[in-house]
Symmetry: C2
């Protein structure tokens, strides 16, 4: 384990660039003093933002580049214009070269995933990366993946995600065998879910290390916290995440309107204000900020593009945790031969 | 248009059977006196429940059957044991025979869809039925489909759903050309969405009657009410609905806990109580109760199995509205030849 966790930051990513990335890093550093930072981007802007954070400055390096991936660049555009030289690419490259332990960017998801995939490549034994997020639930927190790295997933991909998600949950929840559920719909005997059923059968039969397979779960089980890890292909996972975020915003909107309705509700609001603020923070999607790209040779964290310094610092925290608790080793521990759909098991009787 | 809307009710469906179905029907009848009811199920139980609703009783018939589909029956089981004789089947059969205009059941979704499909069959020009729901949004209400009738959808299915959803939205929102969006994820250039892209291209180019195509929408656009009709295949649609419901319940749970936190929040709650109750009703998933099976030769409404009389009456209301405003005719108006992916258009120049 390294003395310091070395964090590469794409200073130009997101809607706000250095004005959020640097104060965000400063907040994360307060919680985790055993960190070092490398900022990639326009040096004068980064220096200006660092000037008011002397403690962070002392633990930081700056690598200048004036190429930045735009929030609406398509992945192919981003690669054409930003490969080898954009702040996003260079942050990933620092991980690739072993100069950083994790890269964090608030830049656009598609470009970040494309660059991370091309430059870091998938881990041995994993076919595709996935985007995993920490989802606040009534019971605490769960890991949900994939949130949109890929559309569609065969049984092997789903099992790989169970392996990677359980590794993340071990770190976050500090338990040895997190419960894992496959996202499904309640309608029985509808065609088209063969891959989910096959993955379920294999997870049940093979009894993999560090995975306590709990069966199918439905959309409302995510918020309930029925299982520690929810596995699904990326289209449904992305829709679920966005639908939940949308609902949270919708209810926050209703709540605000309700509290302004009459003089009584206004008085009530004054009394209960503290609780409301806590509630608002609790249901704020940006608080659980930080999508973890899992399955690559290196850890990359995606922050919401619109996150503020607080939100960005949450993404840095997640990166820190994943490095400190060695996500890669934990994935490898669960990546036994039995986790292959076509298991490469020693032939029966061969060594007896 | 018929003088009375004739409603066939599966009295044995749902978690509570006649004890919810009958008072639910009574509530709906108060709002819509131009209704007649036929109840299918165990006659003595239905009669007992009707005894306290003389006005409803006067507008009702009872058809006895002691066969009922169970909530956990698989569709194939339900068909084996309940075809021709269960309360669910007989309610659908009343629609088929022209003795009722709509069937409402709180029984299990899979069985209800299987029976409705087999007995009513799909409308001419529609390949597959879908389940559509009315989704409360920040802007009002939207129609979302498919919520789980089918998994996967090709371009033609998506366009059929745009046609059917816009017909429903015309009734609900009383506008001639509802806006329609295709549910998608924000990550560009990810493979696997060819069918969604193709459907989008066709909807944009063909300019179908009663459809104002607005492009792709994401999961959080549903709650925002960005479009009047959200179209997606059934797996993602079901997950989105359940994830949103789960989030609503989760936040309601947080809110309850927050209001009990301190003496101040308790006082605040007392003042704001009325607003809270309204809010709770607003975010209660059962209020928007009633999945509409669209695309069949007859209207079937699915109520939540756990709905109370109020919730069940909402499902009956939706059925009433769909009949009174002639859902079928509205679908047919939008089902022009140009709505076929391979359009059967008159040959260019043939008649000139």
């Amino acid at each position: 384990m390294p003395d310091k966790v070395r964090i590469a930051l794409d200073a130009m990513g997101g809607d706000h660039g250095p004005s959020v990335v640097i104060p965000g890093a400063a907040l994360a550093q307060m919680r985790h003093p055993d960190t070092e930072f490398v900022f990639f981007g326009i040096a004068p802007e980064i220096e200006a933002a660092l000037a008011v954070h002397p403690k962070l400055k002392a633990a930081s390096r700056i690598i200048h580049t004036d190429v930045a991936v735009k929030m609406d660049d398509k992945p192919s555009q981003a690669l054409r214009q930003g490969r080898w030289k954009s702040s996003m690419w260079l942050a990933i490259d620092a991980v690739k070269q072993g100069e950083a332990d994790v890269a964090v960017s608030a830049g656009n998801t598609g470009a970040l995933m494309a660059m991370a995939k091309i430059h870091l490549r998938t881990m041995a034994g994993i076919e595709r990366p996935a985007i995993a997020a920490i989802w606040p639930t009534l019971r605490g927190e769960s890991v949900v993946l994939d949130l949109g790295a890929n559309i569609g997933a065969d049984a092997q991909h789903l099992i790989d995600m169970a392996v990677m998600g359980s590794a993340m949950a071990r770190i976050l929840l500090d338990i040895d065998r997190p419960t894992v559920g496959l996202l499904n719909i309640g309608v029985e005997e509808v065609k088209g879910l063969d891959e989910v059923r096959e993955a379920g059968r294999i997870l049940r039969e093979r009894d993999l290390p560090h995975i306590h397979y709990s069966g199918f779960v439905e959309g409302d089980d995510i918020g309930k916290g029925t299982v520690d890890v929810v596995v699904t292909e990326g289209f449904a996972g992305n829709i679920a995440l966005k639908a939940a975020e949308g609902t949270a915003r919708q209810i926050a909107g209703y709540l605000k309107a309700a509290m302004k309705e009459t003089i009584f509700t206004r008085i009530g609001y004054l009394f209960a204000r503290g609780a409301f603020r806590k509630l608002a923070a609790k249901i704020d999607p940006s608080r659980a900020n930080g999508g973890v790209f899992v399955g690559l040779n290196g850890i990359v964290i995606k922050s919401h593009g619109g996150a503020d310094a607080n939100g960005f610092s949450a993404a840095v925290d997640i990166g820190y945790q994943m490095v400190r608790n060695d996500l890669k080793a934990k994935i490898e521990q669960a990546l036994v031969p039995e986790a292959r759909v076509v298991a490469e098991l020693p032939e029966a009787g061969a060594a007896s």
